[in-house]
């Protein structure tokens, strides 16, 4: 009996050794394969990752309307002034509104920006000496959102718009920003409206629409380029 169990044990031990031996051989082959094929220190195969990001131009009015509700010029006052920049109504009883229109360049490309009103002061408000003005300013921290042709802020020759100063609206497209930037830290402008409503203005529900037109800017080098023709200049 004892002999039998010893033999059995021996057989099991031999089988275990054989199996271990095969395992060791297999592991060794695997390691070798791993070393030579999977980790080499130099590429045995190369792949190329290509990513193409399409340019998209997007403008978004996050505040797209201004309302002063219903009101009238105070008795005895020649006119009332409604101003969203300071958020006041003087000489009238409309509800003050301190929210200007907020426009953001949410695309991934710079655009030029033009503004146009649908009406003039006379056709929007009417009466004696009406005033209808707009004022474009940058939001806090977005100091370079709206640049002129020299990549700076402020008015330049041929581009008369001076930011943060009220000027009369224009019914034809008026260039406000040569470059309205898309960078997240510099992509937001605010448009405020000032109305001076005379006591003999038009009555009823008065409204107008401002159109913001964004045109994609085709890339140009920032510094000067020379145009040089060698022969046969264009006629």
């Amino acid at each position: 009996m004892k002999m039998k169990s010893e033999n059995l044990l021996l057989s099991v031990a031999i089988i275990a050794v054989i199996v271990s031996g095969f395992s060791a051989i297999f592991t060794g082959i695997s390691i070798q394969s791993f070393k030579t094929n999977w980790i080499t220190g130099f590429p045995t195969a190369t792949g190329t990752a290509n990513l193409s990001v399409e340019a998209a131009a997007i403008i978004n009015f996050t505040v797209y309307e201004i309302n002063w509700s219903s009101g009238r010029v105070n008795t005895g006052s020649p006119n009332a002034t409604l101003d969203t920049a300071v958020g006041t109504v003087t000489g009238g009883n409309w509800t003050a509104n301190s929210r200007g229109l907020i426009l953001i360049n949410q695309g991934n490309t710079n655009v030029s920006l033009q503004l146009a009103s649908g009406k003039t002061a006379a056709t929007f408000v009417g009466g004696t000496n009406p005033v209808y003005q707009w004022n474009v300013s940058v939001q806090f921290g977005n100091q370079s959102a709206c640049l002129n042709a020299t990549n700076k802020t402020g008015a330049t020759a041929g581009h008369l718009y001076n930011m943060s100063v009220f000027t009369g609206v224009s019914t034809s497209a008026f260039l406000v920003c040569d470059k309205f930037q898309y960078h997240p830290d510099n992509n937001t402008i605010r448009i405020d409206i000032r109305l001076q409503v005379p006591s003999n203005s038009l009555t009823g529900s008065l409204s107008d629409t401002l159109t913001a037109t964004a045109t994609v800017i085709t890339t140009r080098p920032l510094l000067s380029r020379t145009v040089f023709f060698v022969k046969a200049p264009p006629t």
Partner: protein
Amino acid sequence: MKKKRGYNQNFFLLLFFAAVLFSIFNAGVAFAAIGVSPAKYELSYEPNLKQVLTFKFFGDGDIPLNIYIEGDLKKYAELSNEYLDGPGAVSVLLKLPPSPDELNPGNNRLLVGARQGSREGGSAIGTVGEIRAVINLKVPFPGKYATLEFSTADAKAGEPIPMTFKVFSVGRESVLTESKVEIFDFSNKKIESVNLGNFIVHPSTIKDLSGSLKSDKYKPGKYKTKGIVDFQEGKAEIESGFRLGELLVNISNYTIEFQRNLINRFDVEVESFWNDPLENVYVAGTILEYNITFKTPSTTLTGFQRQTLTGYLDTNSIPPETDNLKANLTVYYAGRSTEILGKLHFKRETSPLTYVAAALIVIVLILGWLVFRRKKKNEAKDGKGKK
């Protein structure tokens, strides 16, 4: 069953509240967006080219869009549709003429625009968005025609200087070019010429020689660069420049010890870390606790020069119990400044009594030593006598 019904009830209640919350949070959100993708196409002229270019317009879902085209290429383009109910795609079929002579040489633009319909509502001032994508067609010039783009950018000391150098062949014939970059220091002296090689640039192609210039031989300062392309029949040049390192002047040393009740000389040593000369450099100081100010005369620092500037500090108004002072020292140069906080103190003055006490101690010590010596002598004499 009751438990399950209760569970279902709770679930729907939760869903309802979530919907209410969602509505509340979205009630204040107001957007009016319009966009287009891709924003532009860049094409080169080919005779009789027929190409369909597609633009996707998107924005507020319920606002219709009026589509239009305008620009130099309007008569060579057709729109697939001029109206979209909402977001959608529009195709432009471009049919170019057989000869480039029918077009203006250079860039020809076609704007593809979408304008929102008016928004319904009773607002006094409403808004409408309009977006315009661009198709830019490059038409070659007759003969040999090239444009050059060149610029260099600022870099930190020791780091390579980024450079853009591109030759565009925009004519109908190839151009043989020899390109180089010249570098000049602040005195306009040419310090290096870098040859970029000879190349043939074929029509409607760009030879891009952009890269970087080594700066290890240059000291921090401002430099001028010239990109030069020599064509067989002539030459084109563009000037640019770069700044290497940081414009900096430091305060490296200053007087720390002063006398009371006196107008003291205050020396401040400044050091320039800039290659170019700097004019009108001066130091201004303020004694913080007593608001006493002083200023040195201006000077000019040449490249990397160290110089001592002298001002005068009046300590008459400082009370006797104050031994230490803090001074704000600022050196001004080229529209900039560098500031340090200096620690100053008064010279320790020795009282006459101290000298008297010291003298007395010395005298006592000498006398003591003499007495001790005499005593020793006497003891020695006594010892001899007894023998």
